[in-house]
């Protein structure tokens, strides 16, 4: 199994940390992982994206331009990365602020309204975990147990009290994601 993912959105949405948690979860189940951020003079509010690869075997190039899955969290990223999904691949997006929706018919398109859902929960910061939950529902590449273990490993211990909330958000994401097309 090799899963090549791009996560893209605004800086501050938790794009990079979501990728990091996914990578850590992969390590927890003995996968090879790579986490390649776009880095630049970007700040909160600018664009941010990260390529995560999970594989049972060694990973060759950590830099790729075709993805099994694109997780898209704003319009600019949708415009940029929709065409980069492999035919038959998956595109997951949050509908918040989206004016031009995905148009491809050769990929599976899913929508997870995580921003809206996060505003109803205890903390809006768990937005990215709702998205992650949605993704894991569509592509169960890592087990939920291993995500929790990944969180324990990647979060400083002072934040460990928040892990149950994160787990709840992941489960909520799994519930609210819905497919927008049929291929």
């Amino acid at each position: 199994m090799t899963e090549e993912i791009i996560i893209a959105g605004f800086g501050g949405q938790g794009v990079l940390s979501m990728g990091k948690i996914l990578a850590y979860s992969g390590i927890m189940q003995d996968q090879e992982v790579s986490w390649m951020p776009s880095y630049g003079p970007e700040m909160r509010g600018g664009t941010a994206n990260v390529t995560v690869i999970l594989s049972d075997g060694p990973i060759s190039s950590p830099i790729i331009n075709k993805f099994d899955t694109a997780i898209i969290l704003n319009q600019q990223s949708l415009d940029k990365f929709e065409s980069f999904v492999k035919p038959g691949g998956v595109l997951i997006y949050d509908g918040n602020g989206i004016t031009r929706h995905p148009e491809r018919t050769d990929i599976s398109v899913y929508r997870v309204d995580a921003a809206e859902e996060a505003s109803k929960m205890e903390s809006a910061k768990i937005f990215n975990m709702i998205v992650l939950g949605g993704y894991l529902k569509v592509k169960p590449v890592v087990k939920l147990d291993n995500v929790v273990r990944g969180l324990e490993k990647s979060l400083p211990s002072r934040h460990h009290a928040l892990i149950p909330l994160n787990e709840k958000a992941i489960k909520r994401g799994m519930e609210i994601i819905r497919q927008m097309n049929s291929i």
């Binding site: 390590i27 060759s60 190039s61």
Partner: protein
């Protein structure tokens, strides 16, 4: 204790240095390598091993602190990115001239000048041909994974001390910023005994040690130059490191190091799917360069594509190695753009079998 972590390349270098028993780090922040200094500052290795971490007032100060530490026989290192490494060249020339060991990490960004903060491989000439003034070379190691970023810290120190010569890890912003799994070695204790040449304080039973790169006697200076060359030749015989992938039946060879080599691994798979028998030679030491395997393979190849995120620097060493036995082409992207595996597979196909021109 060995430990498995998910780390950025820059962080892996910093942690590996603590575990390799480094005595001191002297640095100055610059993107995309600031995490080396930041990690060390946060980690407070002084409390763990006694290692000193100091943010100098400039890159020039940092390299001269390394010069001083190295003169005392200590395991010292610095890191920077391209513009900062240019500032360190005078110091490196002096350290090479004084025959001192140290480790320098260059997390390359695009140039010339301030250029960009994005990854590039355009400092190959500077790293492998001397960089500063005078006839000297650095031992240059090119990691291609976060694991090698960590492993080459200890290797770099070992080679630097073995040859009394500065060693450089030549990497780039992509490897510095990306995270991968890394196995960290157990802690190696810091040195408690120092080499006989080190300026650790004169004792009555020996002459004083003098560290200098100055010798105004022409005959002695020439002799010293020849001694350095003999040292570099010995490195060429004993320290060449490289990795070959799918080379046994290859008709076309990609040559690439670091980030480009990772991309080329995938490009080899893609080319083979198109029916092109491609292979990859990845130089791990850029100085000494793996001339011999290239020379030996050249006559049975139909073409070599040297891939580097530059306008074509390493390709000159490839050309020298094969000496006209086979056609050699270069493909590179600049300015912080990283080529994709598909792009390289296409270029290989079209450069050597006609069709779309990628010049």
């Amino acid at each position: 204790m060995k430990e498995l972590k998910l780390m950025k390349g820059n962080e892996a270098i910093a942690e590996a240095a603590i575990r390799a028993g480094a005595d001191g780090y002297f640095g100055y922040p610059i993107t995309p390598q600031s995490e080396v200094l930041e990690y060390l500052m946060a980690e407070k290795p002084h409390e763990r091993t006694g290692m000193i971490v100091l943010q100098a007032e400039s890159e020039i100060a940092a390299i001269n602190m390394v010069y001083g530490g190295a003169a005392c026989g200590r395991k010292v290192f610095t890191s920077s990115s391209s513009p900062g490494i240019s500032l360190k060249q005078e110091g490196l020339s002096y350290i090479a001239g004084a025959e001192l060991p140290c480790l320098v990490v260059n997390v390359v960004r695009g140039g010339p000048g301030l250029g960009t903060i994005q990854p590039a491989q355009s400092d190959y000439f500077q790293a492998t041909k001397g960089g500063g003034h005078g006839d000297y070379r650095l031992i240059v190691l090119a990691p291609a994974s976060v694991q090698e970023m960590a492993d080459f810290v200890e290797l770099g120190f070992d080679l630097a001390f073995k040859y009394r010569n500065p060693a450089m890890i030549l990497t780039d912003g992509a490897l510095g910023q990306m995270m991968e799994k890394v196995w960290l070695r157990e802690h190696k204790p810091r040195m408690t005994e120092f080499p006989a040449w080190a300026t650790t304080g004169k004792t009555p039973d020996r002459e004083r040690n003098i560290i200098t790169s100055l010798d105004l006697d022409s005959a002695r200076q020439e002799e010293f130059n020849l001694k350095l060359q003999a040292k570099y030749n010995k490195m060429g015989e004993e320290e060449v490191r490289y990795e070959m992938t799918d080379c046994d039946d290859a008709e076309f060879l990609l040559v690439a190091y670091g980030t480009s080599a990772r991309i080329c691994q995938k490009a080899v798979q893609l080319a083979r799917k198109k029916g092109i028998r491609a292979g990859l030679l990845r130089p791990i030491t850029l100085f000494p360069f793996p001339k011999k395997p290239l020379k030996e393979m050249a006559s049975r190849l139909k073409g070599i594509l040297s891939v580097e995120m530059s306008t074509g620097q390493m390709v000159e060493d490839v050309l020298l190695a094969v000496n006209g036995q086979v056609r050699v082409e270069h493909y590179g992207r600049m300015g912080g753009i990283i080529p994709s595996p598909d792009e390289i597979a296409d270029v290989l196909e079209h450069k050597f079998t006609g069709g779309k021109n990628y010049e």
